[in-house]
């Protein structure tokens, strides 16, 4: 497997997602001879995983079973080790579309963070594009590089450990799109402009606080960016349930016994608590003039 290409069978060194049900899952690095402990018992990599097709049901030692899934950037987002706050698929989706990413796009990103967005970008720009990702935190930059190698996507990504606000992206006039998720995006707008192609490109900045957005929009205007728009996207999930509403007993006129009953129907009920805010997304285009 790699994160940019489906394969049928699980092989040594692959990252696979063990799906336990209930939306509960975790990633494993497949290794000959290795074992993974789950609440349903042990999974033996050599016997249970290697050579099996992705999507198989694996019966664990205690008799319970799990599914082994092919990794995707979306599953990775749900399972990656958090080194920072991460971007989730709802935001990633609109970022990818609004930045007009596709195979062949060259993208600059900062910070790399836990690599949630990075994986999604690489998936979309491969096999002919490239991601330049800048992370100021050294350990995080190293860890990201490791993960990219493990996930066999390292040829489509360059990780740089530097401060984007001071040193930019390390490339000039190559990017179709720039993405910023840093505390002071307004300080990086100049570098972003420089990284974008001469003939223009798209920019996105993600910020949790409105004050960051205000300053970023001002900086974008000062640097001549156009079509500046800010938006917010929230996921609204529904649980599918069978609801039972009892029918009230209003007293049958003739029947002394109460006529009781209930109405049963399938419903999609919103979750009681849901994510109320991730961040504001500001998009802009590099002006031609």
């Amino acid at each position: 497997m790699s994160f940019v290409e489906y394969e049928e069978l699980i092989k040594e060194g692959d990252t696979a997602i063990i799906f336990l049900g209930h939306g509960s899952m975790f990633p494993v690095q497949v290794q000959r001879g290795a074992q993974t402990q789950t609440k349903y018992g042990v999974i033996r990599h050599s016997a249970h995983l290697i050579g099996q097709p992705f999507g198989s049901r694996v019966t664990c030692s205690k008799g319970g079973w799990v599914y082994v899934l092919h990794p995707t950037p979306e599953l990775w987002t749900l399972n990656l080790p958090h080194r920072t706050q991460i971007l989730y698929s709802t935001d990633i989706s609109i970022i990818t579309m609004m930045l007009e990413l596709k195979p062949g796009s060259v993208v600059c990103e900062s910070g790399t963070g836990s690599g949630s967005l990075s994986h999604a970008i690489i998936r979309t720009v491969a096999p002919t594009g490239h991601l330049h990702t800048v992370e100021f935190h050294q350990q995080r930059a190293q860890k990201a590089e490791e993960e990219f190698r493990e996930h066999r996507v390292d040829r489509w990504v360059t990780v740089r450990n530097q401060d984007v606000c001071k040193n930019g992206f390390g490339v000039s006039h190559v990017a179709d799109a720039v993405f910023l998720d840093i505390p002071s995006p307004w300080e990086a707008i100049g570098h972003a402009k420089d990284a974008l192609k001469v003939e223009g490109g798209r920019l996105c900045s993600f910020s949790p606080c409105i004050e960051q957005v205000q300053r970023t929009c001002q900086a974008l205007a000062e640097h001549g960016f156009i079509e500046v728009t800010t938006l917010e996207i929230l996921l609204r999930e529904y649980n599918v349930r069978t609801a039972n509403l009892p029918l009230p007993d209003l007293g049958g006129a003739l029947d002394p016994l109460p006529v009781l009953g209930e109405a049963q129907f399938k419903i999609g009920v919103p979750l009681r608590e849901t994510v109320g805010h991730t961040g504001y997304l500001t998009f802009a285009s590099k002006s031609l003039f």
Binding site: V4, Y6, E8, F19, G21, H22, G23, P53, F54, G55, S56, R57, W65, Y67, V68, L69, H70, T72, P73, S89, T90, I92, S93, I94, M97, M98, E100, K102, P103, R123, T124, P127, T128, K197, E199, G200, V228, T229, T230, L231, E232, I233, L235, R236, E237, Y238, N239, R241, N244, P246, K266, I267, G268, L271, R272, Y280, T282, S285, S287, L288
Partner: protein, 486 residues
């Protein structure tokens, strides 16, 4: 994998003759093909696109005399120059006398050849109340006047972003009211990327197909399932994809899905089977009717239909039937038309057999459904063609059918991580000291049901379903108890 696809050329950012482009005026879009001496009508203004050729995408033009477009330096928002907003409107009394310029004055300015932009500026300067208006009222005033007197048009490159926003704003019915952010979710949840083998079933004018093609960049293959006589790809055309993108785009009629699943569809049976060819012809009659009316409508709205000088004719077989049909009408020669039609039909059959072969491998990397049909029968049958451990996404304008679809898929088994969701999108105004969400927002952009396929062993299926239901129950346990109580 990389050698079979045309790579973007160096001069890709320049507008060329024959390009599919999108015209933009304020927030309004229209998709057209650049053709010399062809009159284009946009926002009640006509002009020629000859002058845009050779300029960069993103260039802004002004309509000048004779419908010629003149490149124009992108002006900063006029508001930035006139920012002296009143704090409130306590002193404004509306007496209809606030504009000192008369209609005659304005006409005189126009006759002198003063540009729209300058006329608006003069109107502002001659308004006695403008400076006392609140910023909200000022913005409204400027927008109104700008719209009336200025004709500034930007030529942009088509993309999923542009086209999905365009369709949602102007012809949402054609795309089943799918909001652009919902489409964005589908592309991500479906893990659409280069090299996939995708099944797409949509009745969204080909917009969803185009978005999938853009994300696959010509790598991999797509089988488009279509109802009726042929797939509709009006929006797909607007993307202006290179020819090569269509080499691995196949289409397969929905009406033959059950045959394929039953094993009664075979390549041998096809050519000799007369009953079948009749039904194809009948279906095509329907298609032609569709094309007769549906692109007509589009033409009046947001997409200029290309009637001649058709560079993609070879690669976009299905939409190319339309000019032929027109030709046929013009010539009035039914026999010629039928011969030509039969040749096409043979070609179509060959492609159909190829599509059937691809489907029969039952190893598609994903399934996207976004149609005006009830999603349940589509999802249940088309999932049969998908490999295990692959994502699928089903769109519906309504939530209720997806609740049913969810239930039926659970009963079927072989799917996990089912999620029913919608997204909520809000745009913001960010301006110094007056930032707030936009006053209007979309009430709904449709619903998605997504999930992942897994191995579904028939012999174990029953116990599997039971266990799945047990383990797959989403989290809120406490709530569930309360619900079954009530």
């Amino acid at each position: 994998m990389e050698n079979s696809v045309e790579q973007p050329r160096q001069q890709d950012h320049l507008i060329r003759d024959g390009d599919f482009v999108v015209l933009k005026r304020e927030d309004v879009f229209k998709a057209v093909q650049v053709q010399r001496r062809k009159k284009v009508t946009f926002e009640k203004q006509w002009f020629f696109l000859d002058n845009v050729i050779g300029h960069s995408y993103g260039t802004t033009f002004e309509v000048s005399s004779g419908g010629n477009l003149q490149p124009k330096k992108m002006m900063e928002e006029i508001t930035s120059e006139t920012k002296e907003a009143g704090i409130d409107n306590r002193n404004i009394v509306d007496d209809g006398k606030s504009q000192k310029l008369t209609q005659d004055d304005i006409k005189a300015l126009k006759d002198k050849g003063i540009k729209g932009e300058e006329i608006v500026q003069q109107l502002i300067e001659n308004s006695t109340t403008f400076r006392d208006k609140t910023e909200f009222a000022q913005d409204k005033y400027i927008k109104k006047k700008k719209k009336k007197y200025e004709a500034i048009i930007t030529v942009v490159k088509p993309s999923t972003r542009i086209l999905s926003i365009m369709y949602y704003a102007r012809e949402p019915g054609k795309i089943n009211y799918m909001r652009y952010d919902t489409l964005a979710q589908m592309l991500t949840l479906g893990n659409i990327h280069a090299g996939n083998k995708m099944i797409v079933m949509e009745t969204c004018a080909g917009l969803v197909l185009g978005a999938v093609m853009e994300r696959m960049g010509g790598f991999g293959s797509i089988i488009q399932m279509y109802p009726g006589g042929g797939p509709v790809r009006a929006a797909t055309t607007c993307f202006g994809f290179p020819k090569s993108f269509f080499n691995s785009l196949y289409e397969f009629p929905l009406g033959k899905v059950n045959c394929l699943l039953n094993g009664t569809f075979s390549s041998k049976a096809l050519p000799s089977e007369s009953k079948d060819s009749i039904s194809v012809e009948e279906n095509n009659g329907t298609l032609l009717d569709d094309l007769q009316t549906s692109p007509k409508e589009i033409e009046e709205n947001i997409v200029e239909v290309i009637e001649n000088n058709h560079p993609q004719q070879e690669t976009m077989e299905v939409i190319s039937q339309e000019p032929e049909y027109k030709e046929h009408k013009e010539r009035g020669n039914k026999k010629d038309y039928i011969q030509e039609f039969q040749r096409k039909q043979e070609q179509q059959k060959k492609r159909q057999i190829e599509a059937a072969t691809l489907l029969n491998e039952r190893n598609a990397d994903g399934l996207i459904i976004a149609s005006r049909y009830h999603p349940t029968p589509l999802a249940l049958s088309l999932l049969e063609f998908v490999a295990p451990s692959r994502p699928f996404v089903v769109y519906c304008h309504y939530k209720e059918p997806l609740v049913e679809c969810y239930t039926k898929l659970r009963e079927r088994g072989g799917v996990i991580n089912l999620r029913l969701s919608e997204t909520w999108l809000r745009n913001y105004q960010v301006l110094p000291d007056r930032s707030h969400p936009k006053l209007m927002m979309s009430g709904g952009g449709g619903y998605l049901l997504s999930g992942i396929t897994v191995a579904n062993d028939k012999q174990k299926s029953e116990s599997c379903v039971l266990e799945l239901q047990k383990t797959e129950e989403p989290t809120a346990k406490k709530r569930k108890v309360q619900e079954s109580d009530s």
